[in-house]
């Protein structure tokens, strides 16, 4: 293996490779991207696991996330502190789940987290309304929004509690074959 890189030790790279869907080269490339976000904050040498977090405001300005209506929720779902500040581990985790090779079940779990705006483990009416407003730039009237959300819950709710639990969501995802290709960010 050719170039000697000093950003990570071999064991670290092996660990990253085993825990994510990326290869060594991609992980090094991701580190480059992470460093670009905040060059003064992120060290080039990660061999001793520095505890560095890049703030939310810088991450959502990445070209891959900038135009996404859910960029804030995506980053918040992957951050430990819930505020959206990502360490490098969380950064890699995020793009690993959103990569092409991640399985449907894993993506469904995180998609559920992303759409669950009030983090109560259910997608209720308000979560759906917020989702719809983000998707349509708030150009539907409130009655229309309510109608659409009610119809959605009616369609997807299996156990009749008028909100979507993770089981309902997963059932809907399993019947949408496009989900694997749409819930995917290329980096």
């Amino acid at each position: 293996m050719g170039n000697k890189q000093t950003i990570f030790t071999d064991e670290q790279l092996d660990a990253y490779q085993d825990c994510t869907f990326f290869t060594r080269k991609e992980i090094l490339r991701l580190h480059g991207r992470y460093h670009e976000l905040a060059p003064h904050l992120v060290p080039m040498d990660y061999t001793n696991d520095p505890d560095v977090k890049v703030p939310l405001a810088l991450i959502v300005n990445m070209p891959e996330l900038k135009e996404n209506p859910f960029r804030n929720r995506i980053v918040e779902s992957f951050s430990e502190d819930g505020e959206g500040n990502l360490s490098f581990n969380e950064f890699v985790d995020m793009f690993s789940v959103l990569s092409e090779t991640a399985p449907r079940e894993l993506k469904a779990i995180y998609a559920f987290k992303i759409y669950d705006f009030n983090t109560d483990n259910f997608i209720c009416m308000e979560d759906l309304e917020k989702t719809l407003n983000r998707l349509t730039k708030e150009e539907l009237t409130p009655e229309e929004v309510k109608l659409v959300c009610e119809k959605s819950i009616e369609e997807a709710d299996l156990d009749g509690d008028s909100k979507l639990s993770f089981a309902d969501f997963e059932n809907m995802i399993s019947r949408a074959p496009d989900f694997l290709s749409t819930f995917h960010i290329r980096i």
Binding site: C19, N89, L98, Y115, T136, S152, L158, D178, T182
Partner: protein
Amino acid sequence: MGVTSMRRRGTLKTGLLPGGNVALEKIGLTEEDVRDEIMSEEQDLVKELVTMSTRECIQAIRDLPMCMEDKKNIRNQVLASKSSKKGFLLTCSADCSEQISLSLRRCGVGLSSARQAVRLWQGTMKEIGGRFGTSVLSYFSFLKWLLMFNTISFLVNFGFITIPQLVQTSGRSPDVRFTGLELITGAGYFNQTVMYYGGYINGTKDSDFKYNMQLAYFFTIAAYLVLCGVSLIYSMARSFRRNFVLSDLSSGSAWRLLCSWDFSMVNERAVRQRKNNLRVQLKESLSEMMQTNFLPVSERMKQLGIHLCTWVVSAGLAAGSCAAIYYLCQYNLQQIKVSQNPGNLKEEASTLLLPFVVSLFNLVIPLLYSLLSKVENYSNPRFQIYVIILRNVFLKMSILSILCFHWVNNVTTNVPMCWESYVGQDLYRLVIVNFFFSIFGSFFGEFLRRIIGTRCMPSIGIPEFDIATNVLDLIYAQTLTWIGIYFSPLLPLIQMIKLFLLFYLKKVSLNRNCQPPRRSGRAAQMQTIYIALLFFPSFVGALSLVAYTVWCLTPSDSCGPFQGLNTTFEAVSLWMEDTAIISEFSWAVWIYSHMIKSELFFFLLALIFLVLIYFFWQITQGRKMLIILLKEQIINEGKDKAFLLEKLRTFQNLSLVPYHAENVHGPQYFERTYQTESDYSEGYQRGACPEEDTPPFASSALMQAMMARRQAEEEDEEY
């Protein structure tokens, strides 16, 4: 216990738990208890992972929905316990095997990353997907897939047929000079080269070059077609299972809200467009919901009448174009008969008339079809697309069938020279002219349309990339190539070059002239349909034509490797007769005479397959019933859960008395008193979500239920 349950366990940690520490205290659990619970879950997880093989273990770790530190933690624990297990065996050999497996894994990963680096057009496809979405990207992936088929075909043909022929005939050069026109007409200089069937000679008889060209030609093409067929069936079945069987969501609101947003779109204008489209679609579906669907009988009869008319008109157009092409073919044959000077430039150019007319029909008539579909009024836009595709496929396949009919019936008897080379040249010309018409189609359909749409008539607007037409065009060209493999073994090379150029052409045209599609989604289902179309009329048709040629038609006497035989397949029979003399291969001869040659064998095989199909169909019906029953069961369980939680709540509210620890196995859930009812929201109230800090009642009960289960498991272990 599968990986799914491990994933569920993993979710305990990641905070698919309710509201945090406040919630836990309110239901009487301390942080200690929860942490212990989590620790024991982790131990179980590690124990399960250790029992798996390395590759399964890594796959399972990757699938865990935990944060990276936890995954690394678990991985280290698993590695530690695996190495400690091995520590009891010979440490030296264990070390060696560990090193070997590690280096093998690194090697494998290095190979896969190298493969990714040389993957063709990776960056371009990312760009296209980012700007136009996954449905347009599917056209380009389809193109790449066809390119792979043609590459394999070319390599196989070149390696096994062309190279031996070139080696054999090195030294001989054709009599005709090379003029530039050959690149388009395919005749002239190319006529006597290895480009066509006529350039191949079976040389086993007169030279000491022991290569049986007959068998090589036959078996190479047969093997390639079988490989193609198997790969197409496999792709089709896999695609069908993934995209059709499981999904029965017609574009419902839930799907549109939660599953349809394309996260890979990064272009600002495209995103804005997509939002607009979604809004328009939602408004449309809302207004549809409002409308009542009652049409009076006269309206419906009128609709039916219109549908019938358009179908008759489209069938008439297809039949008319077939008739025109047939007469043109007959005319061409007559011209050959009366032609005095076969090398005449004008006559060679006149052979281009047929492909020109065919491609013109293929371009113009679909436009007429789309005009017709505007007249009709389909309630379901998806149905409309299916109808358009069906009509186009019908047109293209009927044109191809008439051409095949002409080749098989008329050309074999009326052409003085090599009829296979004649057919090969016809196909070559069709492929080349089709390419030029694709360029023209792009030019007129996209470039000019954009100019008109932006400068002259802004109401039309910027065109969308018409995926269906382009994909059907690709399928048509691929059918021509597959038919042509027998008559012109190097035709896949032409198709390869053509596809390569087409990719860049379409990419440039797309970027400059088109906007992202308005109707989102259903890319996966359309992909399945395209693969199915590639298999059913296209590949099966080509295969049947080649099979008919090989089995029933007489090869021409003056050229080609099969001169002098009655049918091409006779070469195999003769070979079998020769090997029958050698006793070592008598099993092969037995297989040939009793299985391939006998009809009884195939009849029995077909009967067995029919029985199996009926059997599997019955199983499918049974499973559908099961799905309905399970759905009802889920609803009933939800109602049960609500009922039990209600009981639990009333019970807890009543019990303000401390509970004796001996009476209940488990932590003291019920010792604390609860303050007011208002702290707990009714989990099953319609639509209301609590805004305060207190957790929904349902999830606290979930926590209690999990603790109870843990307790029960510990009890089981005790006994």
